[in-house]
């Protein structure tokens, strides 16, 4: 493992992208920052611009209006970066599968522009914060 990889693992900065989620996963993601879960312990930091990010936390099954924006955010994120599909919707559109306005799921949209993208899945509705942390840790260990 090179020093660069190790540095990414020690300091993963994440940017949060909602592509049509019901807010639950998003709240749980924000919850990760707060005292009970405090992911700053692992050097994880939520940043305000995709240009600063190492990982995208994507929630929601990707609506037609959101898809182009998701692609744009992915393009703006400096590589290497990991895409996390958080929640049932992001992993496979969930309960909204039959919706006429849904074009996802997340991996399909991302792979359209980057077939080699690194995508990790954290299912659940919503996944518990512990599950999200565990997902991020496992994905980082797999790099």
């Amino acid at each position: 493992m090179g020093l660069s990889t190790k540095a990414v693992k020690k300091s993963p900065w994440v940017f949060h992208v909602n592509t049509g989620a019901c807010n639950n996963c998003d709240i749980e993601i924000v919850d990760l920052l707060t005292p009970r879960f405090d992911v700053e312990r692992f050097g994880i930091k939520l940043v305000g611009s995709p240009r600063h990010a190492d990982a995208l936390l994507v929630t929601g099954g990707v609506t037609a209006q959101a898809a182009p924006r998701l692609r744009e955010v992915y393009r703006q994120t400096p590589k290497p970066c990991v895409v996390f599909a958080i929640g049932a919707c992001a992993c496979g559109k969930g309960i909204f599968t039959t919706g006429y306005h849904m074009v996802g799921p997340v991996d399909k949209i991302i792979r359209e522009i980057d077939p080699d993208a690194i995508i990790a899945y954290v299912p659940g509705c919503p996944p518990k914060p512990e599950a999200i942390i565990s997902g991020v840790v496992k994905a980082l260990a797999a790099i």
Binding site: S4, V8, T34, E40, V47, S49, R51, H52, Q76, P78
Partner: protein, 314 residues
């Protein structure tokens, strides 16, 4: 060691780049850790700021299409150079008092503006509307706090009997008088605004402007900004210690006490950061110009009276 080599050593190793960067990143860790503790959290691990910078250095650098490329890349270098020279100047004044030159304190005040100016340059070169609003705020803020900073400094000069050298000023402790204490507190707030912490972080206000001025920076260039702001955490409180709190001294005991003074200033900064909401730029301007301005004019008057009638505690 000949003279050039020694200057190079000062700038690159001690008290310049290596020393300031390491100490600065440590200070950045302390700020984050103490903030976390105040917020009932555990906070980041010890070496976190080092890993952050190391990681950013290995990331891709994206330059916006519409950006002015050379200014965009050059600005963080200028900022870093500014804070580097500032910390060198202060360190030399503190540890090799005989090597300083007359008027270095003026140079120091100029150097302190440099990182802010670089930030304004860099963000206005990035062609992002959020950065543009951030730039406008940063400019107003610079204009806001420079006036009280200089006014406060006049108090120091009066107190030290017209000395214009850092080493000479460091031998006095202006804070031990009413006017000096007032000047110190105002300068502390100005320094706080220079570092860009809450309540004066409107230029980078994450929830209003993305990351504002730094929004378009990524990878190594962002690492330079991180490093610059970490080094500011060393240089600016050190400036306060040298100018207001009697400096470091050259004996081991003096250095220890000096370091304690530095930590004290840092703690004050962290406290202010964590107990205040962000203010609006117009409120900040009013505060710096009218509030601090009036207070400082009074302080200058007091200091002058104290000087004429030889009353030390005024």
């Amino acid at each position: 060691m000949n003279n050039e080599m020694q200057v190079l050593f000062w700038i690159l190793v001690f008290p310049g780049f290596v020393f300031t960067a390491v100490l600065g990143l440590l200070a950045a860790w302390i700020v984050r850790k103490v903030s976390a503790l105040v917020q009932y959290r555990v906070g980041p691990p010890f070496l976190q700021p080092f890993w952050d910078v190391r990681k950013l250095l290995s990331k891709e650098v994206l330059i916006p299409q519409e950006a002015n490329k050379w200014v965009f890349i050059g600005a963080p270098l200028v900022g870093l150079a500014g804070v580097l020279l500032l910390s060198t100047l202060l360190g030399v004044a503190a540890f090799w008092p005989q090597k300083t030159f007359v008027g270095d304190v003026i140079v120091a005040i100029y150097l302190m503006v440099l990182p802010s100016l670089a930030l304004i340059l860099g963000s206005s070169a990035s062609a992002s509307p959020h950065a543009a609003v951030g730039t406008a705020r940063e400019m107003k803020l610079v204009m806001g706090y420079e006036l009280p900073l200089v006014l406060a400094f006049i108090v120091v000069i009066i107190k030290s009997g017209g000395a214009l050298g850092l080493a000479a000023i460091a031998e006095t402790t202006p804070v031990a008088s009413i006017s000096g204490a007032v000047a110190f507190l105002v300068s502390l707030l100005c320094i706080h605004a220079k570092i860009g912490y809450v309540p004066f972080d409107m230029a980078e206000a994450e929830t209003e402007l993305g990351s504002g001025v730094l929004m378009e920076y990524s990878g190594g260039l962002l690492a330079l900004w991180n490093l610059t702001s970490a080094m500011m955490l060393v240089a600016l409180p050190m400036f306060l210690v040298v100018v207001y709190l009697g400096g470091f001294g050259t004996t081991p005991a003096g250095i220890t006490i000096g370091l304690l003074k530095y930590v004290g200033v840092l703690v004050l900064i962290i406290l202010i950061k964590n107990t205040n909401p962000r203010v609006r730029i117009d409120q900040a301007m009013r505060f710096f110009w009218i509030g601090c301005g009036l207070v400082l004019v009074t302080a200058i008057a007091l200091a002058t009276i104290g000087n004429i009638y030889d009353i030390g505690w005024l």
